[in-house]
Symmetry: C2
Subunit: 313 residues, 2 copies
């Protein structure tokens, strides 16, 4: 079944693509099988991460970027990381409306993914979804993420080129500094550049970025007005320039190894824990130790050591 | 050495406290020993998490809350989770200035912690830091976090009462909805309540919160102007009410077990991975498998299985 689905995907079947992404999102065993078969077909797409604080116009910018890419004849997969919560449906709907014209284009595939789930689960699922969209033959995969936490840093590990969006803020001129996400940026965008404080934000960004240089790459700071599609063509040119830099400097290979190591270790941890849990859940040791930690009779570290002993013994 | 340090901490020595927190932050082996000894002395403090989007006035609110707690005679430990980045020093300085008057108070202890480090490392380190401040005899531990990602959700696991701050936003009326952090709130605060859109934000929050009720607890929505210390006394009253609710409803015990389970599993994973890595790093298998994943010769899941086989064989 999975073999067929993989073949259909490689043949360009969108339904197969949709189904595989559902497997990935839900962590079905079929997803693992499919990823194994698709993996050798991946590695050709340019993966672009787009992040920034809430309200910065990420979805609008992603949509505008996708339209510009289509003008240049590229096929695109878009993953919107969507915090799964009773409140997210409005936001999701908003995102979809901003990209509605794109959904009918056969060379554009848009998918929202929920962030609910196990620790580290989002990064793993996102990696797999990128592999699927990459193997499906898309020239570019855009990954749009909300917020500015650990998630974004992990997803920057997946992307070749990470775009961090800033806007003239509410009270603070610089919204993103505190969040510490500037350092993951390969390209900085000041969106809503028609707002009065845009120039001062751009200036501040220039000062901050001068503190933290990537070897051989100066992070460009671009102004856009995404809803008017202004500055988007220039942004895409910079993305192309960054891609060139990665390829010629050897950074692309280095990133590939870094990402491979991280994926490998994340999955290894999950398998190891699964093995231990199976036996200690059955024999009741897990519940007993949880209770002892909760009542402060044993500290969590000593309890973890006992748990592992119990699983091995 | 650690035994002495633990005793000094229990005797109220601030230098010992500072040193232990440094051990925790850097993941020194002494930290583990100390936590083991301190663990039975912890569990008395009320732990309050404070989060919200950047620019919402978290630090100002945390400072105001600390001052109000001092008026009521409580001793306080404050942990400011500080994204470690070349850009964070300004923010950190800002936080410290907002709390400067508090630093000379012997019943207030303020500590910034960096978020750089291993995956899951922040949550583990924060848990340990809370244990240290709790065992040191503080009545209240405030944990202030930046942003709205996975980190905040994990830290909500540590806190008894989580306060999520919103402000009338830039463009969007509601800044936090997309980030999906409303659902971790026990108390919602609309800060900067003197801004024109404050009432409409509070109304929207009321509508959203009516979708997602905690059993037995209606999330209150409070307006504050933190820099004028307005609404802070009311906020502290609500925190007290929430604490009462937790104690009388049995939720406090339930949270303790939940937290114990999570800590136990996180540490178990770290120990298991450490054991595997030691052997596969030495024999070169790890590097070989990373290379094979990077060159797409093997998918990460199959590689993880081989890695574990190699460590066991």
């Amino acid at each position: 079944m999975t073999v067929e689905l993989v073949q259909q995907l490689l043949d360009g079947d969108r339904k197969a693509l949709t189904r595989l992404l559902t497997y990935v999102e839900n962590g079905y065993p079929e997803a693992r099988e499919a990823i194994r078969d698709l993996f050798p077909h991946s590695g050709k797409a340019h993966i672009i991460g787009i992040t920034g604080p809430t309200g910065c116009g990420k979805s609008t910018l992603t949509g505008a970027l996708a339209r510009e890419l289509r003008k240049r004849g590229r096929s695109i997969g878009i993953i919107v990381i969507d915090p799964s919560s009773p409140f997210s449906q409005g936001a999701l709907l908003g995102d979809r409306i901003r990209m509605q014209d794109l959904t009918s284009d056969p060379e554009v595939f848009i998918r929202s993914m929920a962030t609910r789930g196990a620790l580290g689960g989002l990064a793993a699922a996102t990696n797999d979804a990128v592999t699927v969209l990459d193997a499906a033959g898309n020239d570019v995969v855009l990954v749009e993420t909300v917020g500015a936490g650990q998630d974004e840093v992990e997803i920057a590990d997946t992307a070749h080129t990470t775009i961090v969006i800033n806007i003239p803020g509410a009270g603070d001129d610089m919204q993103a500094i505190k969040a510490g996400i500037l350092e993951i940026a390969d390209i900085l965008v000041v969106n809503k550049a028609d707002l009065p404080a845009a120039n001062s934000v751009a200036k501040q960004l220039h000062i901050f970025m001068s503190l933290d240089r990537q070897e051989g790459w100066t992070v460009p700071i671009l102004k856009t007005i995404a809803h008017k599609e202004e500055g988007i063509s220039e942004l895409l040119d910079e993305i192309g320039r960054h891609r060139e830099f990665l390829a010629t400097s050897g950074r692309l290979e280095e990133m590939g190894r870094h990402r491979a190591r991280r994926q490998l270790l994340t999955i290894t941890k999950a398998i190891l824990l699964g093995g231990v849990l199976q036996s200690v859940e059955e024999n009741g040791t897990l519940d007993k130790l949880v209770e002892s930690v909760a009542t402060k009779d044993i500290d969590p570290h000593s309890a973890a050591e006992r748990l592992i002993e119990s699983a091995n013994g």
